[in-house]
């Protein structure tokens, strides 16, 4: 199954812009399903980006982050071809990770 993480990392000059879209329900635990039962909270808590052996961005998310969450940021100190490791863990212990090449 394809990874749940879609990433676009493009570098121009010293700045690399990173956009990520993750396939995840991000359930708040406050919503009822068709049968009227509460859908338990199920959301990504931490999303980490590492490049050249150091964290370049760490996101701590609550239940107010949208379904199929998206985040965009930029950082310096990387160049085309470097590896960018992205990994997330959610409140149910689920996780996923991929390594993408900076274009």
């Amino acid at each position: 199954m394809a990874s749940s993480i879609r990433v676009r990392a493009t570098s121009n000059g010293d700045i690399t812009e990173v956009q990520t879209l993750i396939q995840h329900p991000m359930d708040t635990g406050l919503v009822k399903d068709a049968k009227g039962e509460l859908i338990p909270a199920h959301y990504i808590q931490e999303l980490k980006f590492e490049c050249n052996g150091k964290d370049v961005f760490v996101a701590n998310w609550g239940t107010a982050v949208s379904k199929d969450p998206y985040v965009k940021f930029s950082f310096k100190g990387a160049k085309k071809g470097d590896d960018l490791k992205i990994s997330w863990t959610d409140n149910k212990g689920g996780s996923d990770t991929i390594t993408a090449k900076i274009a």
Binding site: R6, L21, Q23, K72
Partner: protein, 287 residues
């Protein structure tokens, strides 16, 4: 006194002439004339919204409101239909149990043809939509049909729409009285009021596009299906044209018809034909 009478007679005469002039137009309209209808339909919107670029109408509410357009642009940077698109591409390439694939069912392998759907099938004498053709292809190859409303069907149509992005809508009406009747049936459905709220599609999408209905900006009817299938934040998921018709019906408190009912296929035929020439922009992201 005499002047006033003359004035009265004059205006009466003018009114009569105007009426005479207009009435053949009304009479002519009863004979189904899709070409004139399409021209009138497009001109109505081009005149009502002179500063909206013609091809922009296919972006629905975002062609009507700057603040919404900005939110849309931001979403389109990494659109939420990305997953459905990838899933559709993968499904399109995965062969059926009998080894065939969707490409064998469609002209040009199914790539870049969405703009010709729906088409009028002269053998069967009815409108065939992309969704109907896809399920027919599955059944012809021994596979179970998909729901017409979301999930797999939305992913497949998303991929096929994506391969047609930018191509102008190109719907043809063959010279066949049944095709003209289907077009007319679609037009009638579009303008007919229904549900306890007594709205027709036109009440919202012709009389008040650009205005708000609670938080939403109403899309113009011109090119309203060019972006199908759409990812709606409201559904937090994908939806096909059928799903949109079904939900619109229930919002006016009309009991929806079956997803591929004749009226739905015909109104899709009508709305696609009058949007001829405007680019395909599917899959779309909507509120």
């Amino acid at each position: 006194m005499k002047a006033r009478i003359a004035l009265l007679l004059g205006s009466l005469g003018a009114a009569l002439v105007a009426f005479a002039f207009a009435s053949p137009r009304v009479v002519a309209a009863d004979k189904v004339d899709p070409v004139t209808d399409a021209k009138a339909f497009q001109n109505f919107f081009f005149q009502k919204f002179p500063d909206v670029k013609h091809e922009d109408f296919v972006n629905g509410p975002y062609s009507m409101n700057e603040d919404m357009k900005r939110q849309w642009r931001e979403k389109e940077e990494f659109p939420p239909y990305e997953f459905a698109l990838d899933a559709g591409k993968e499904m399109f390439a995965t062969p059926f149990k009998n080894g065939k694939t969707y490409a064998d069912c469609f002209p040009n392998g199914g790539i870049g043809i969405r703009q010709t759907y729906p088409y009028f099938d002269e053998k069967e004498g009815k409108v065939v939509t992309l969704e109907l053709a896809l399920n027919r292809c599955r059944e012809a190859n021994g596979e179970a049909p998909y729901s017409y409303v979301k999930d797999e069907m939305a992913s497949l149509t998303a991929y096929m729409a994506f391969t047609s992005r930018g191509k102008p809508m190109d719907i043809r009406i063959p010279d066949d009285p049944r095709a003209l009747e289907a077009f007319e049936n679609g037009k009638r459905y579009f303008y007919t009021r229904r549900g306890q709220l007594n709205f027709s599609c036109a009440s919202c999408h012709v009389q008040s596009p650009g205005q708000r209905i609670r938080a939403e900006i109403l899309a113009p009817a011109l090119g309203i299906l060019n972006a199908m299938p759409i990812y709606r934040s409201e559904w937090s998921g994908m939806g096909t044209t059928s799903r949109r018709f079904v939900t619109c019906n229930s919002q006016t408190r009309a009991v929806p018809l079956e997803p591929q009912a004749e009226e739905y296929r015909d109104v899709e035929y009508f709305l696609s034909y009058v949007a001829n020439g405007l680019p395909i922009s599917g899959p779309g992201a909507r509120p």
